[in-house]
């Protein structure tokens, strides 16, 4: 969040419509995204009630659990869900290319993309994954083989979604708030219907008017939690009807009524997002997503075990480092791809832009630790931005992402940067390698490259703070033998 974001919120409130927060789309949209709208039974951790799922907006598959307290029916639901999701994942993830590099690696040609309405949907998918990936397919309480496999993929996808910029499993409200600013609070933006009301109101309504409709009890919530009033008035009777007659028709009808509006809204939102041009960074991140899918595919095909219940200390430290790196490079890439995002950083003083007013091309210095004089030209930029960067700070420019520079001097209205590299091998900087007088340029401390971090120690040298060298994980039958309610 930034002052710019707050200002735009106020402006959106006054204008009664959402305003753009991005000029390009910072997320990859798959050609055929799989939309998944799940509902759960109130008061239960992971009791699915029903879901609408599919890749065709006009033909969703409706899955219901007519008696959500029945364990067998729950697993039947998961098997049915697996019958929709697994062929989709398999078909896409089995087409693999080998990328030539120093160590060649595999990458899927495309990757699955699951779109859920809200972060609650991702959480619920993770819970479903946790509750099903250890199930056994033989012996007592055996389940359909699709169930543990679905659990492993759901777990994988939900874990990936924690990495900033991953597009494998996305929550629609997060995507929309990354691209538009509404005139309501963040808590209210969490409601897909209200959020879409601001961004794309029906003909003749203002944003706040359309958002108010979302508060109407007749507008079903985007899940996974249902409205208590719906539970009381409709669902309870429908379930009783199933218990008495064995017919799931009433439950299906009730849940269809709750799910269909959200299903349509998710597709409406996909339409809005696809109208934006995809940013280069989003395409690059999708490539990384494709590598991760290929890795997980290979792990499963090679007989790898399901994900453990908890990370070991070492795995957690690694994961945290990767999460941080992903967050940092995602934020930077977004700003480099989009002047509107960069404006938020300029408003907060960690980026600045302006016209080059002076260039000293002939300056040569002996860099610290060096022996020879090398060219280190100075570029002075006039800016009205409230720069908060200190002398000596490393900066980069979106228009020259491969060249690094250092802040050399600051005055009220000017910033002088020293260009550090990317000037060729000659005694003088190569033609065009230094910004010329009159160019408008932006510099920022953000760095979209993967930053270098101190490597973690090898496994056998794990320090005592992290429990010493970890034992190998050996799965036990206990993992699968959880008693069930």
């Amino acid at each position: 969040m930034s002052l710019l974001h707050s200002y735009v919120k106020v402006k959106a409130r006054e204008q009664g419509r959402a305003l753009p927060r991005a000029t390009v789309r910072h997320v990859h949209l798959a050609e055929a995204p799989m939309v998944f709208v799940p509902l759960r039974l109130a008061g239960e951790a992971a009791a699915p009630l029903g879901a609408m799922v599919g890749t065709d907006p006009a033909r969703p598959t409706l899955l219901v659990v007519p008696q959500p307290r029945n364990r067998d029916l729950r697993f039947q639901f998961l098997a049915d869900l697996g019958a929709v999701l697994l062929p989709y994942i398999d078909r896409i993830s089995r087409q693999v290319e080998t990328v030539e590099a120093r160590t060649p690696f595999e990458r899927c040609l495309d990757a699955p993309q699951i779109v859920v309405p809200s972060p609650g949907g991702v959480e619920f998918a993770a819970k479903l994954g946790r509750s099903s990936r250890f199930r056994r397919t033989t012996g007592p309480y055996a389940v359909d083989p699709a169930v543990p496999m679905l659990g492993r993929w759901l777990t994988f996808l939900a874990e990936q979604s924690e990495f900033a910029g991953s597009s494998l499993m996305v929550a629609m409200t997060d995507l929309l708030t990354a691209h538009w600013v509404t005139g309501q609070s963040a808590a209210e933006d969490a409601d897909l219907a209200a959020l879409l009301g601001w961004i794309d109101p029906p003909e003749g309504l203002t944003g706040p008017e359309a958002a108010a409709l979302a508060d109407d009890p007749l507008t079903p919530p985007a899940g996974p939690d249902t409205h208590p009033e719906f539970d009381r008035q409709e669902l309870q009777k429908a379930i009783e009807h199933y218990d008495a007659t064995g017919s799931a028709a009433q439950v299906e009808e009730a849940l269809h009524g709750q799910l269909r509006p959200t299903w349509d809204r998710v597709w409406q939102a996909i339409g809005l997002l696809s109208a934006l041009k995809e940013s280069p960074g989003a395409t690059a991140r999708w490539e990384r997503d494709r590598v991760h899918v290929a890795l997980h595919r290979a792990w499963i095909d090679g007989g790898g075990l399901p994900q453990g219940k908890r990370d070991s200390a070492v795995a957690a430290a690694k994961r945290l480092a990767r999460l941080e790196a992903a967050q940092q490079s995602f934020e930077a890439a977004r700003a480099f791809d989009d002047p509107l995002v960069m404006a938020e950083y300029r408003a907060d003083g960690v980026a600045f832009a302006g016209e080059v007013v002076a260039v000293d091309l002939t300056r040569r210095i002996v860099p610290p630790g060096g022996k020879r004089e090398v060219p280190r030209p100075l570029v002075t930029i006039e800016t009205s931005d409230p720069v908060r960067l200190a002398k000596g700070k490393k900066v980069r420019s979106p228009s020259r992402p491969r060249q690094s520079a250092t802040i050399a001097d600051l005055t009220e209205t000017t910033v002088t940067v020293q260009i550090d590299d990317g000037m060729g091998r000659g005694g003088q900087p190569a033609e065009g390698s230094v910004p010329a007088v009159g160019t408008v340029i932006c510099y920022t401390e953000l760095d979209p490259g993967e930053s270098r971090r101190a490597p973690l120690p090898p496994r056998e040298e794990t320090p005592w703070t992290h429990g010493g060298p970890p034992p190998e994980y050996v799965p036990t039958d206990d993992d699968a033998a959880e008693p069930w309610s």
Binding site: V10, G43, A45, E188, P208, M342, A343, P483
Partner: protein, 357 residues
């Protein structure tokens, strides 16, 4: 407290429970909430009279699940609970006296039940009697001059130690982790019981560690853990003392203010509510029955608070949407104390217009 009774009028008041008392701390700066709570106005009813729909119910499935789990934990003389407490509190095996306090010699009245609870708890505290687990006790708390009866799930008593409040909740603890908002709600509620029990037997005899009993993973198997509620106790004590100092707020209100829900027309109710200043923030939406009314009012007045805490903090010193946009416009006159934020806003406005264009 006559003034508060006069405000409520002839309409019956709303009974407090642990949840509503815990909610008092939700927005301490809100005069409207303080007055309505102190006068025991029935807020859901007020909202129904103003034709706002009621969204505060609990799903029958959640209620059923909670009941089912509580019954399971307490079944067979609280066998499950005893087992968990032995591990958690090192309760010796012989100390397994289970007493159900619901039955006060056939007398069902709240006063009688509370008296019975008090007797047994005092006896236990003095080392007489063999009670280890006191089920369905009835505690009493003074809220703004009114006596409120509270029924915690159970009170466990550890011999030679202290009383512990047990909260039985049906949300799951999966792989040793539970949903944070649910745990904090349970902690706030349990703190009310700790507070009430301390009023009865003294501060030192009641532990600030409450015992939370929840289903483990995706099973029905109960598991127990302790939750420290010291922080919640401090907040609660401050809120309760604030309610007794309600006079200061009352003095600022119109002389003949009435919120007699049965006697007034919706328009009159709305005008009376509007006469009590509110402090709406989006967090109210999940904590207060009145929130939708206050939200509409706040937006009508263009309050910045309604856009969230971040916006309010970023635009420090500016109260309304209109003021914010005015000072962001170059050439508009600006008050001295707003000069700095005005300059920043104008810069930001220029940046935004450039980037969008």
């Amino acid at each position: 407290m006559n003034r508060l009774d006069a405000i409520r009028g002839a309409t019956p008041g709303q009974d407090h429970n642990a949840r509503s008392i815990a909610a008092l701390a939700a927005n301490p700066a809100c005069d409207r909430r303080a007055i309505l709570d102190a006068a025991a106005i029935d807020k859901p009813r007020l909202m129904r009279r103003l034709r706002f729909d009621d969204r505060w119910g609990q799903s029958p499935f959640a209620i059923q699940r909670n009941q089912q789990f509580t019954d399971l934990v307490k079944a067979n003389g609280a066998a499950h609970l005893l087992r968990l407490l032995r591990t958690l509190l090192d309760l010796p095996i012989e100390e397994a006296g289970y007493v159900n306090l619901e039955d006060a010699g056939g007398n069902e009245g709240q006063v009688a039940r509370h008296g019975h609870t008090r007797r047994i708890i005092r006896q236990t505290a003095e080392g007489r009697g063999r009670a280890t687990i006191l089920d369905r006790p009835l505690l009493r708390l003074d809220v703004a001059g009114a006596q409120v009866y509270l029924e915690p799930d159970v009170i466990a008593f550890q011999l030679g130690g202290r009383f512990h409040i047990v909260a039985i909740k049906s949300f799951a603890i999966v792989d040793d982790q539970a949903d944070t908002p649910k745990v904090s709600a349970a902690a706030r509620e349990a703190a009310v019981y700790v507070h009430a029990l301390r009023a009865l037997v003294g501060r030192d005899l009641v532990s600030h560690d409450v015992i939370l009993v929840c289903p483990r993973d995706f099973t029905n198997e109960p598991t127990a853990t302790t939750v420290d509620v010291r922080h919640q106790l401090v907040t609660l004590a401050r809120q309760l003392s604030r309610l007794t100092r309600i006079e200061a707020i009352l003095d600022r209100l119109p002389e003949n203010l009435s919120l007699d829900l049965d006697a007034l027309s919706p328009a009159q109710i709305e005008a009376a509510v509007a006469a009590i200043p509110a402090r709406y923030a989006p967090q109210c939406l999940s904590a207060c029955e009145l929130s939708h009314l206050c939200r509409r009012e706040a937006h009508d007045l263009g309050h910045l608070d309604a856009l969230g805490r971040v916006v309010r903090d970023d635009l420090g010193g500016i109260e309304s949407v209109q003021t914010a946009l005015r000072v962001a416009t170059p050439g508009e006159p600006v008050a001295d104390d707003q000069a700095e934020i005005a300059e920043r806003l104008r810069h930001v406005a220029r940046l935004y217009d450039e980037a969008v264009a």
